[in-house]
């Protein structure tokens, strides 16, 4: 697979998916950086991995399961003390239209 050249449109699309604003003056910079990183990782495509099982995690073990018990107490006051904006126990954000 040939290395991808990241253009402005792709930067904008990715920025949108990542919920980031990229200033117009910075788009080319990000595009160039991303292109270089993708060129760097292109090395991967020189190796044949057809039969190789992907490795998600270095641990071989399986997931341990937890007993179904309530172990957490109400700590709303402590947690909301560090919140940007709350009222009546709710976290407040600008009106969301669904």
């Amino acid at each position: 697979m040939p290395a991808i050249t990241v253009n402005q449109d792709l930067v904008r699309t990715i920025a949108e998916l990542s919920q980031l604003n990229i200033d117009a003056k910075d788009i080319d910079g990000y595009a160039a950086d991303m292109t270089k990183v993708l060129a760097l990782v292109e090395e991967m495509h020189t190796v044949d991995t057809v039969a190789v099982v992907p490795m998600s995690n270095p641990t071989d073990a399986s997931q341990q399961l937890r007993q179904d018990e309530v172990t957490e107490a109400d700590q709303r006051d402590r947690y909301q003390a560090i919140a940007p904006e709350t009222d009546g126990g709710f976290y407040l954000v600008p009106r969301v239209v669904d």
């Binding site: 980031l20 991303m34 990782v41 270095p58 937890r66």
Partner: protein
Amino acid sequence: MSELHTKTLSQMLQDLDNKVYSSVELTQHYLDRIERLDPSINSYITVLRDAALSRAASMDTARSKGSHSPLAGIPIAHKDIICTEGVRTSAGSRMLDNFIAPYNATLVEQLNKAGVVTLGKTNMDEFAMGSSNENSYYGPVHNPWQRDRVPGGSSGGSAASMAARLCAGATGTDTGGSIRQPAAFCGITGLKPTYGRVSRWGVIAYASSLDQAGPMAQTAEDTAHLLQAMAGFDPRDSTSINQPVPNYLAQINAPVAGLRIGLCQEYFDAGLDDNIRAAVMTAAKTLESMGAILSEVSLPNTQQAIPAYYVIAPAECSSNLSRYDGVRFGYRCANPESIEDLYKRSRSEGFGREVKSRIMVGTFALSAGYYEAYYRKAQQIRRLISADFTRAFEQVDYILGPTTPSTAFKLGEKLDDQVAMYLQDIYTISVNLAGLPAISLPAGQSQGLPIGLQLIGRHLDEGGLLKVAHNFQQASDWHLRRPDDNQ
């Protein structure tokens, strides 16, 4: 008294037990040094002056009443990516500049139980992304050996603090080399444990399948002390290893005779600085003279490690950092006009350039149409790299090589070349992909700058690594060297 900071952590434990000085005196000594010397190093983001002294006093009291926790009264620093309850935990970022952690990381709780005094939180590359500690909201860290050079990253603050003797030991995290590379640049000992050996609960996530917290200290023995308290199974971390923690301090004194040490041929390529090559070979010979058996091993997929890492780590980080949205904690932009504006401006203003860049690379690697070719491919490469190590460890017990391709570079030197910065991690990165333990220890100097030697071990063989390192440190004195400008 004025030389307290030159002692090893192990020595301090004995001195405290023998009441040569108190924890309060020791802590005060460090706090004075931090005040005097840290302005030119910038290794601390937060110093906990009053809390540290009060804690030191209570440790002194406990000791006088006969209680004896293994690290009672020892002043340490935590990398600011590790949650400390009631204390700012910034991850080096504007995004969390106002984040007062509502809970302690498990490793913090364990070290607290062992009796440590927390001096403060150390500087770091933002969200652990970087190899020079130049990506911090709180300004770059300066290498105490030469102030115009980087200390390495992302645990640059912990490494510099330890090197400048502004703490007796420190914690760091390592995702692609972030403990070992700064340890090498700063002439200290740093260990990345086996993935799952130290709990990640409370360690702010960068790349979930690669992150591991570990100890950074002056010597292998000191490192063993810290690791003993940090390690252990934690049911709150599903990736935590459910195996008992051995007695590392009991293991380190065993001899190295008969141990098989492999020099990885791929690590000694043309890109390696000659002085580093020489120092590493000398160290190998030293170990050989102590009875270790040297041989050559090959890790054929070494060249694939950086590509695989720079897909996997950004991909996981792009997802891990989605929670930073200005809603429940952390930075929020002023006067958001809509929910989208809230997200985008909070994130864009809260995150630095390198973080945004990695988030975008990661988002790309996971996106529809590219997932197979990038993320999935990288996970397959990862399996091959892991298999390389498994094969090599059939021939040898440890793999030895340089920690970094060069010594500490100058501040600003690699800032414009992102890929050049990434290539700094060439010797350390495979280890994280395979989840194995590795240690970096001082093994020489080149033009006044420290050179680090790396040892890689089998799964859960931290004890073995510490043993080889400790043996080497009995036969060398690089680890005793300190930056020597008026300190």
